[in-house]
């Protein structure tokens, strides 16, 4: 079975995003970028499937400018076999991304597509579900356990209040949650090897998708800052403040 993993280049999760002075967007100039953390988990899961003999090939795809090849190379260093970059603007809405991924999926014919549940920049949590919809495939979102067996995949999902397990017909789409696995670090030899792995570039025209969007970003603002309050020196003082000043107890 072939596994396709879609990944995204995002702001490093340790960096605090700052809004541009003209309120048009977040300022990403000279900001450290990285592979989206949930996408790392997706790659790890696919690579483990290959190591256990369930998958025979792991293909990684990313949509964006030339710069996102950096993240594709990271995925290759983590164990993916080859990469595809769909050349496009860095900023696209999830529906456009899902349409492009659907075309790549039709072309590659994987048995399973694995994505992160959300990207930590736009925080949309949509692309996997949309891709599954466009393909007419089932979806196992927010996965904490994935088991492929006899033409089906069992996905244990992190839901409000606990866990839910569903059985999905293959092919299917899975999106990863935090506890699915702990991604490995790329070793230096693997980073070197990744440089020689194949990386194909496709255009949106190649895929026959006209990228338009019905969404307009009107403004981006910094939320009101919360002011630091006071330090208390004892539990008694804390309880007193909560009772008499804040009146929440």
């Amino acid at each position: 079975m072939k596994v396709l993993v879609a990944v995204k280049r995002v702001i490093d999760y340790n960096v605090k995003a700052r809004v541009k002075a003209d309120n048009t967007d977040v300022d990403l100039a000279n900001v450290k970028m990285a592979l989206n953390p949930f996408c790392e988990i997706a790659i790890e899961e696919a690579v483990r499937m290959k190591e256990s003999g369930i998958a025979d090939e792991v293909v990684v795809v990313s949509i964006g400018t030339k710069q996102c090849e950096e993240q594709i190379r990271t995925a290759l260093a983590l164990g993916a076999d080859r990469g595809i970059r769909v050349d496009a603007d860095a900023q696209m809405d999830p529906l456009s991304i899902a349409k492009l991924l659907a075309k790549v999926t039709e072309k590659e014919q994987p048995g399973l597509v694995v994505l992160g549940k959300q990207a930590i920049d736009s925080d949309n949590n949509q692309t996997g579900q949309m891709l599954a919809a466009l393909m007419g495939w089932p979806q196992g979102t927010f996965a904490s356990e994935v088991n492929v067996d006899a033409g089906k995949v069992n996905v244990t999902r992190e839901v409000d209040g606990g866990l839910q397990t569903v059985a999905l017909n293959l092919p299917a789409v899975v999106t990863t949650d935090l506890r699915l696995n702990e991604p490995r670090y790329a070793s230096l030899p693997n980073i070197m090897k990744a440089k020689r792995k194949p990386l194909e570039t496709l255009s949106t025209d190649d895929l026959g998708v006209a990228v338009t969007s019905a969404l307009t970003l009107l403004k981006v603002e910094t939320p009101p800052e919360r002011q630091a309050g006071i330090r208390v020196s004892s539990v008694d003082e804390l309880i007193d403040k909560l009772k008499n000043d804040a009146k929440v107890l």
Binding site: Y13, K16, A17, R18, V19, V26, P94, L95, A98, I120, D121, D123, N124, Q129, M130, A132, A133, L134, G136, W137, P138, Q139, T141, F142, N154, R157, E158, V159, D160, G161, G162, L163, Q164, V166, A167, N169, A172, L178, R179, L215, T216, L217, L218, K219, V220, T222, P223, R226, A228, G229, I230, R231, V232, S234, V235, L238, I239, L242, A246, V248
Partner: protein, 309 residues
Amino acid sequence: MRLLVIAEHDNNELKPVTLTTLAAAQQIGGEVDLLVAGFNCQIVADAAAVVPAVDKVILADAPVYEHQLAENITQLVLALPGDYSHILAPSTTNGKNLLPRVAALLDVNQLSDTMTVESADTFKRPIYAGNAIATVQSSDAVKVITVRGTAFDAVSAEGGSASIETFSEACDAGLSQFVGEALAESDRPELTAASMVVSGGRGMGNGENFDLLYALADKLGAAVGASRAAVDAGFVPNDMQVGQTGKMVAPELYLAVGISGAIQHLAGMKDSKVIVAINKDEEAPIFQVADYGLVADLFDVVPEMSGKL
């Protein structure tokens, strides 16, 4: 305009987050249909019918809807006869699972985790873990929206008398089956609906030490949450996670214990009314957002607090 709101329920009880989603629908304006899809869930439809913000309840009661499988519920939503201008669901794991699938098949985008209704086509939503707020305008024919429960005040739950219409078609996509579930049994209030939340972080050291927080929470009648670090370390299950990638909470009182205050955690709780931080590291970033900070060893002060309340 006619709006469709997807009810959050467990076939037994209409969840309060439905009422905050209805508040967002009311701000948009128009007639509101509330979809109750489930199995043996007449009791939920009955509860929904007395919510004054609801004009009509659509009850789809069939075994294929029992576990809210996105594949089946999507087909159901698309099969409904209403010509909807907006489709809304709470930003719960159900809503997040379902609505993007609906949106994609309607060939429209979805607005996730909407926190403010500016007009019928313009909304505010948080991006970058809430470090920026985007104002987004949609020209899509149908606006598909998930609603952040903590950003709206719940509409009244009683006093109305909406009609209940039954939609009897059982839509089975035939793609997925429910296998089982393991839901946490707890007498404590639900995290996103609680008026007080006690949360623990990596500083708790291990899962057993969370017993200290459970004891304190039970004194307060509070829910118990955790930071991503505590979940990652395996102390507690993920459904307790508060933060960008977990649950959003905005209680009256949020007590952060042994939590350093990473950006992604703050994203999930900084709208709380009063924040208290207990941490032995006085440089911890959590103190920058806390109304009351206590620099102390949590293993001393948490039991002391439980004893004094």
